[in-house]
Symmetry: C2
Subunit: 315 residues, 2 copies
């Protein structure tokens, strides 16, 4: 662990730069629409900059937030893994984003990288990293999901042979809508409580995930953004966005912790889709493209096919 | 307490008739649109009939559900007030409704009446009633809210002098969106764990609330359903419906208990509005009709003005 202040400065410098680069790459897809920024402060300590782009030609809404906040008393709900830290002072830094494209053939996505540190009596502070990225298509193109997972695996590759498999599984388990018996989308990476390998390696992994996100998502946007669509696809997208709302408000620990701990409501709920539809008893037509989505909303080994293709081409 | 079966039959007979009457009064506002019914069974025991009307000229969606369900093991989350009952077998009967009108000048409303019974070792079963009704306008007409609360008070009048005041307060406290620091609407009645006065009186109160709902809501619909509106009012309605989603998915105990205990998801979530809009950082124009709503989203003594008018007219 480096000096107790400089590591926070290093993380902040990376995260604010990451936010800039992500917003730049989103804006690069738009002719005229730009992010607007709200800088905010938190009474207990710290603040953030929330950036939202609305009504673009490609992105109906993109929210990319940076925050660095601190508090005097960690609530017990934040320390399920480490109850002994309840009540300690803490600092959290992170970048979090949710992107809701206009075209239903472009998937929704979410990415988050975060660092958490809690004071420990007379010892070095306790710290951990968390984060990941996941993809929520309305119409699944297997190419896109394979590319997404290939980048996820590449991001993990230099951090141990099983890291992709572990974080991919964790992602499937975390983004699971229990009352629908389906995953939120086709997954990606999710990790929390990461401290293995020491601070420097964990921080390097944060950077790999943050940088990898752009590489994972932008090519999919490029590929799908011009696909023609009509009311049918739009209505299906609005309906499926309802599941996003259900997950975020019923299950997402980050959202619930944020709302319960007096976080900045507008920044927390910028994850919610700009327009949504709920429909009692909706069932897609059998064998329609809309019906096929459910085949993909369960854990799946997205890279198995690639591996087997590669094996075949060598045989 | 009457014989252990006949009281359940009496409650069921009242509730199914109430569902019929409410659906009839909703349909009486529509030229051609009718409820469709799904009858369903629950594997563990019991079932229900869920009725939904969609895309009416007055009601964009109305969901009115009856259910009678039973289980072998009460989850602890259902017995916060009586932890000694956890694990017992139970039966629950209720009618629950949420109505989302098309015209933004007609308020959204929710009503629920329910009965709960849990087995108790070697003793009479433990039972209680719960329910209430509440109103969520987008544009507040004080006349409407006063009428609503006058009926609520009348419903309570023969059950004790303080009952309206207690249940009105409980409603304000229950339908409170903490992260927005506002009530969900202008309130009404909310009660739970009701057993005071004995079974017969409690059942009579259930009937007073159920019957009172029609008398409270229909005149407001009649008064406002033909008010002209445009995109501005519609967009505001869609935005405010987002708060309804936030409350129901983050705070509503009935919704969360239902989803967590393996209830019928479609029936539980028929409370969600058919179309919704979320907007980061939305602020109504100062002094606009939209801005005035927030003045009403805090507890208010709706009948004080009437009392003082009446007093004045007598003086």
């Amino acid at each position: 662990m480096p000096d107790s202040k400089s590591h926070l400065e290093a993380i902040e410098a990376y995260l604010t730069n990451l936010q800039d680069r992500i917003c730049g790459s989103i804006e690069s897809q738009e002719a005229n629409t730009r992010f607007r920024e709200d800088a905010w402060k938190r009474i207990e300590g710290g603040g953030g900059r929330t950036r939202v782009l609305n009504n673009g030609s490609v992105f109906e809404q993109a929210g990319v937030g940076f925050s660095r906040v601190s508090g005097n008393t960690l609530p017990p709900s934040a320390t399920q893994q480490r109850p002994e830290l309840a009540g300690r002072s803490w600092t959290a830094l992170g970048v979090s984003l949710v992107i809701h494209p206009l075209n239903p053939y472009v998937p929704t996505t979410h990415m988050n990288v975060r660092f958490f540190e809690a004071a420990a009596d007379g010892k070095d502070p306790v710290w951990w990293f968390g984060g990941g990225f996941d993809l929520t298509p309305f119409y699944v193109f297997e190419d896109d999901a394979e590319h997404w997972h290939a980048v996820a695996k590449e991001v993990c590759s230099k951090f141990g042979v099983d890291r992709y498999a572990r974080y991919k599984k964790w992602c499937d388990e975390y983004f699971y809508i229990k009352h629908r018996n389906e995953t939120r989308g086709v997954g990606g990476l999710f990790y929390d409580d990461l401290h293995e390998g020491g601070f420097e390696q964990c921080f390097e992994f944060m950077r790999a995930v943050g940088d990898g996100f752009i590489e994972a998502y932008l090519p999919i946007v490029e590929r799908r953004k011009s696909t023609p669509f009509g009311d049918r696809e739009r209505e299906f997208q609005l309906y499926r966005r309802g599941r996003y709302v259900e997950f975020n408000l019923v299950y997402d620990r980050g959202t619930l912790f944020g709302l319960q701990s007096g976080g900045r409501t507008e920044s927390i709920l910028m994850s919610l889709p700009p327009r949504v539809r709920f429909e009692y008893g909706y069932m897609p037509e059998p064998n329609s493209p809309e019906a096929r989505l459910s085949d993909y909303l369960k854990p799946r080994d997205w890279l198995a096919q690639n591996v087997s293709n590669r094996t075949q081409s060598h045989s």
